[in-house]
């Protein structure tokens, strides 16, 4: 009290009065409203920021549905899902979405085949085997890879990976002919092909998988590792039979995230995978993905409002549904495999 109000120290009576006064003030402060406006304002600011993400999602759904509605009035769902060809700008037009879906999954599956196992193994190395020094160098470098713009990967695929694949295939041709016993076998890889796009996407998603898997491996409690070591497990047995199963939910989540990134990847496939929608499982051929088609049409000279233009919303809607389903699958898998540690 004396410190707060040095003047009162000379007059004890006044000091006593001040003390009484401050007690009275304290009891009043129970109903004080001084902080409230700020609290309320902050609440609304935070809530608004959170709401923006929700509204955006609903906005996107609304646009996709309303814009693709005229398309589906013209083209029946049976044609959309039943036809084998996708050629909306030709005469007669074909609207078989399956060729685009096939292209998307050919590329995504190819990318997943490379990036998921490699990412997981890299994560196991970083989390279990690497020295702290090695990890401190490698993890930032890996994450740097994630920061490369995808258009760069696209050019990399088109101008580096594809020629490389062509060379490899050429040098392998005599061997292939001998093995198959067919001297007329000349496997060719097209300039635009699914494989090089897959490889580029794999390189792009690798750091994502590695980084997320490493995070989930690292949070596996030390006690669990020690328990396994104490039973006489080797480092490999601890890593593969205890740490990986314990981190399964995080690993699954990162896998699905990587695949949905691959499904949604646009720039790489637009540059390297080609523009010929078809149903094929041959990665050496030129294909077209859903995203690639949307780029082609929205950048091209298709008149707005035409049925050809509306196709991109229909394709977008399908793409959106696929990614939503994958996200839901991811959530349920994470729930199923999550182990609680305290």
């Amino acid at each position: 009290m004396a410190m707060e109000n040095p003047a009162t120290s000379q007059i004890p009576v006044a000091g006593g009065a001040a003390t009484l006064g401050s007690v009275a003030k304290n009891s009043e402060s129970l109903s004080a409203t001084r902080k409230k406006p700020l609290e309320i304002a902050l609440f609304w600011i935070f809530a608004l920021c959170a709401a923006v993400t929700v509204f955006t999602t609903f906005g996107i759904i609304a646009v996709l549905v309303t814009e693709s509605a005229p398309f589906f009035r013209e083209v029946s769902l049976a044609r959309f899902f039943g036809e084998k060809e996708w050629a909306p700008l030709f005469n007669p037009p074909h609207y078989g979405i399956f060729s685009l879906v096939c292209g998307t999954f050919l590329v995504a599956a190819g990318a997943a085949m490379f990036s998921l196992p490699m990412g997981l193994l890299a994560a196991i190395y970083l989390s279990e085997y690497a020295s702290p020094r090695a990890r401190n160098i490698m993890k930032p470098v890996l994450e740097l890879l994630a920061g490369v713009p995808t258009v760069v990967y696209g050019y990399f695929a088109l101008l580096f990976i594809t020629p490389l694949l062509q060379n490899v295939l050429e040098s392998m041709t005599p061997t292939l002919q001998r093995v198959t016993g067919n001297p007329n076998l000349f496997p060719t890889i097209e300039v635009f092909n699914a494989l090089s796009a897959s490889i580029a996407i794999a390189i792009m998603t690798l750091p994502l998988v590695a980084s997320l898997c490493e995070d989930s491996l690292r949070v596996v409690p030390r006690a669990l590792r020690e328990g396994a070591y104490a039973l006489g497990a080797t480092k490999m047995e601890v890593s593969l039979k205890v740490v990986v199963p314990a981190a399964l939910s995080g690993i699954m989540a990162s896998f699905i995230l990587a695949v949905s990134r691959a499904v949604g990847e646009t720039m790489i496939v637009a540059l390297a995978a080609g523009a010929s929608p078809k149903i094929t499982l041959n990665p050496l051929e030129s294909i077209q993905t859903m995203t690639g088609y949307i780029v082609q049409v929205s950048m091209g000279d298709v008149p707005h409002g035409s049925i050809g233009y509306q196709t991109i919303f229909a394709v977008g809607l399908v793409l959106f549904c696929i990614t939503v389903m994958m996200n839901l699958a991811s959530i349920s898998l994470v729930k199923k495999y999550r182990h609680k540690y305290d």
Partner: protein, 297 residues
């Protein structure tokens, strides 16, 4: 973990490791009741020494955590390590199966022998060592898998694949840890669904399944309620006839209740060691007396 571990593991891939019996001519079976007489007499050298620490110094980086600690552990006895937090008792316990190897910057000097063999020798495979010297930790750490798989984990590492053999080991180990009756119908359920006390007994069963000679327990009851604690203490007394147990505990009543001998640590040094009956009634060192009477620590 050196590369020889794999071949050693293959050598050990048999249900009953016969090599071990040859190395350690076990007095375990011949003198089951010895320790009782020993505790009464306050005698140290009643049963043969199985593990012996000789002038062990341990450093975390430059900080010395253990200063020239020497303790012999006799077969079929329970030895308690007590002392205030940070005194090095857990660190010392982890020396006995080289768990400190897993800690970066940790260096151990001196000698620890298991049946006369220096466990810090270059040729020693920690995988083999840890199968003979099992460990139970402070916090129950069941693996996130079924109860059955938790117990079978150790034997599987030794290469036992036969389901029937594994099943026998699982039952035997769970019975050994006094958990069988509670979980026999839920062996396929996740071990994480068990209570804390059950989880800890599961961890004991898991350690027993590798058929160790020595069982190290690092404050095994500190996360448990009194009833579970009593169950585990009872269990330890039963296990004594077949195993050599070293337990770190903060609970002095527990040390007095279950152990044959007690060692008191302070600031990385072994202050006093002797029969528990004497340690808790008539300690020779003033610091021990201060600690056990609660004057510090």
């Amino acid at each position: 973990m050196n590369t020889s571990s794999i071949s050693n593991l293959a050598d050990k891939a048999m249900p009953e490791p016969s090599t071990r019996k040859a190395e350690a001519p076990s007095a375990r079976n011949s003198t089951p009741q010895f320790n009782v007489a020993m505790a009464a007499a306050g005698e140290q050298n009643a049963t043969p020494v199985i593990v012996e620490a000789e002038k062990v110094d341990l450093f975390y980086g430059t900080k010395q955590a253990l200063k020239s600690v020497s303790i012999p552990f006799h077969q079929n006895t329970i030895s308690a390590l007590i002392g205030p937090s940070g005194c090095g008792k857990s660190t010392f316990l982890r020396c006995l199966n080289r768990m400190n190897d897993l800690i970066e910057g940790c260096r151990t000097e001196g000698e620890v022998t298991l049946s006369g063999e220096n466990i810090y020798a270059k040729s020693v495979d920690t995988v083999m060592l840890r199968q003979r010297v099992g460990m139970v930790f402070q916090k129950p750490n069941p693996f996130p898998m079924a109860i059955w798989d938790n117990i079978a984990y150790g034997p599987r590492l030794r290469g036992i694949k036969n389901k029937a053999v594994l099943g026998e080991i699982v039952e035997e180990s769970l019975r050994g840890a006094a958990l069988w009756d509670e979980v026999k119908d839920d062996l396929k359920k996740s071990a994480l669904g068990l209570s804390g006390g059950q989880q800890q007994r599961l961890c004991i069963a898991r350690a027993l399944a590798t058929k160790p000679e020595v069982l190290l327990m690092d404050e095994p009851c500190s996360a448990l309620d009194p009833i579970s604690t009593l169950k585990i203490e009872e269990l330890m007394r039963e296990l004594r006839s077949a195993y050599t147990i070293v337990i770190v505990t903060h609970n002095m009543q527990q040390a007095a209740r279950v152990s044959d001998t007690t060692a008191f640590f302070l600031l990385g040094e072994l202050i006093e060691r002797g029969a528990s009956a004497k340690m808790f009634t008539d300690p020779s060192d003033k610091r021990t007396e201060d600690y056990i009477t609660g004057r510090f620590g």
